[in-house]
C-alpha cells in the first residue's frame, strides 16, 4: 500500500510538473489534486446497505429516505406523474448519476481511484460515472449525457463532486420504475431528474474504512423549488466480484419488464 501511495504521489507530482511545463492537457487546475488529506482508498467493490425490506439499512449508517412530499415545480409534478404512470421502464436505460448510487444493494458498484480520476462502475449499468480530480472545470460547451459531467476536489478527506450536464432522459432518481411496488418506499412520489440537474456530492469513508458515505445535494430547479439532500451508504465488500450484466441478453416477452402491469397497489 505504501509503495502504491508513493508511486501515486510521484505520478501526481510528475503529471503536475509536465502540465506546468508543457501548457497542454486539461484546463488549468482550480484546485490541486494533491490536496487529498486522507490515505483512505475508494478503490474497491461496494454494495449499498439498503434492501427492499429495509431501504434505510441498519443504523448508524442508514440511508436517508426519499422525500415523501418533494417541493415540485409544476414541471416536476407533471413529470413525476408521468413517471408514475409508466408501468415499465426501458430495462437497460441508463439510470443517471443519482440512480447509479441507488441505495438498494442488489448490484455492487466498483470504484477505481487513479491520480487524475475516480471511476464508479455500477454492475448493472453499462455506463460508468467518471469523476475528474485533476483540477479541470466543466466544459463550457458541455454535451448533455446520461451520467453528466463530474469534477471532484478534496476537502480534507472528503471528496466533493460536482455534476452537471445530464440529459434529462433518465428514470426517476428513486427507483426503477414507477411501477415499482417493489419496496416500502414505492408509495412515495417518483422523483424526476431534468437536464438542469446540479448535483453536489460529498463522499467520505467512515466506520474504520468499511463504509462509504455519499451525501447528495440535489439542486434541480426545473423539477424542484428547493434543493434537498439525502445520504446513501455503501459497505466495502472485498468478497464480492462484480459480474457481467447485460440486461438485453435474453428478455422474454413475458418478463415483467415487458408486461403491461397491473393496477398500482
Amino acid at each position: 500500500m505504501a509503495v502504491r501511495r508513493t508511486v501515486r504521489s510521484v505520478t501526481l507530482a510528475f503529471g503536475a510538473l509536465a502540465l506546468a511545463v508543457s501548457g497542454c492537457g486539461p484546463p488549468p487546475a482550480t484546485s490541486t489534486p494533491l490536496s487529498k488529506a486522507s490515505q483512505l482508498d475508494f478503490t474497491g467493490v461496494w454494495i449499498a446497505v439498503g434492501t427492499f425490506e429495509n431501504p434505510a439499512g441498519p443504523p448508524p449508517w442508514s440511508n436517508t429516505l426519499w422525500p415523501a412530499e418533494p417541493s415540485f415545480t409544476p414541471w416536476g409534478e407533471a413529470e413525476s406523474r408521468r413517471l408514475s404512470a409508466i408501468r415499465n421502464v426501458v430495462p437497460c436505460q441508463p439510470g443517471g448519476p443519482i440512480f447509479a448510487m441507488w441505495e438498494m444493494g442488489l448490484f455492487p458498484i466498483e470504484i477505481l481511484e487513479a491520480p487524475d480520476r475516480i471511476v464508479l462502475k455500477p454492475e448493472n449499468s453499462a455506463l460508468p460515472r467518471r469523476i475528474f480530480i485533476d483540477g479541470r472545470g466543466h466544459p463550457e460547451d458541455l454535451e448533455p449525457s446520461w451520467m453528466g459531467h463530474s469534477i471532484g476536489s478534496w476537502d480534507g478527506d472528503v471528496l466533493v463532486v460536482d455534476t452537471v450536464g445530464t440529459n434529462g432522459k433518465t428514470r426517476a432518481m428513486n427507483g426503477v420504475g414507477s411501477n415499482a411496488g417493489v419496496s416500502s418506499e414505492d408509495g412515495r412520489p417518483r422523483l424526476p431528474v431534468s437536464d438542469q440537474l446540479h448535483l453536489v456530492e460529498r463522499f467520505r469513508i467512515v466506520a474504520d474504512s468499511e463504509i462509504l458515505e455519499d451525501e447528495m445535494t440535489i439542486n434541480d430547479p426545473k423539477a424542484y423549488t428547493s434543493p434537498f439532500t439525502v445520504k446513501h451508504y455503501w459497505q466495502r465488500r472485498p468478497d464480492i466480484d462484480p459480474i457481467e450484466y447485460y440486461c438485453e441478453e435474453s428478455p422474454r416477452p413475458d418478463d415483467e419488464a415487458n408486461l403491461p402491469g397491473g393496477a398500482r397497489r
Partner: protein
Amino acid sequence: MKGVILGLAAAVALVGVAPAVAHHSYAAFDRDTQVTLTGVVKELQWNNPHAWIQIVVVDDKGRRTEWGVECGSPNMMARTGWKRSTLAAGDRVVAVVNPLKDGRANGALVKITLPDGRVLGPGNAPGPRPLRSAAKSKS
C-alpha cells in the same frame, strides 16, 4: 402422478406482503397472493435480465400446466446461493410464487425448495454484513 399436485384453490393463501425481488416492476404480480407449485423442472433459463424456471405441474385430474417462474438476475442469484447448475431438467421442486394478476401460469418466485432440501430465494439483496468496527467495539 398423484404426488405432483396443484391444488390451486387450496394452495392460494393470503399471507400478507411477500418479499419483493426485482429491479424493476413487479406490478403485474399479485404480491398479496402466494401459490405453491409442486412439480418438475423443465428448464432453468439462466439469463439476464431475469432468470426463469419452467416448472411442469400436474393436478389431481392429470391436467398438465407449465408455469414460468421469474427470478432475479443471475448476478443477484449468484450472490445468494444459486448457480446455473442448481436446477436441472427433471428435478422435483416446491416453488412458492406470487402469481400474475391476469391469471396466466406465470409467477414471481418467493422461495423454492430444491431436491436436496435447500431453500433458496429469488435473488434479493444480500444485505449488509455486521461491521468489523462494531465487532471490535463490543470486544
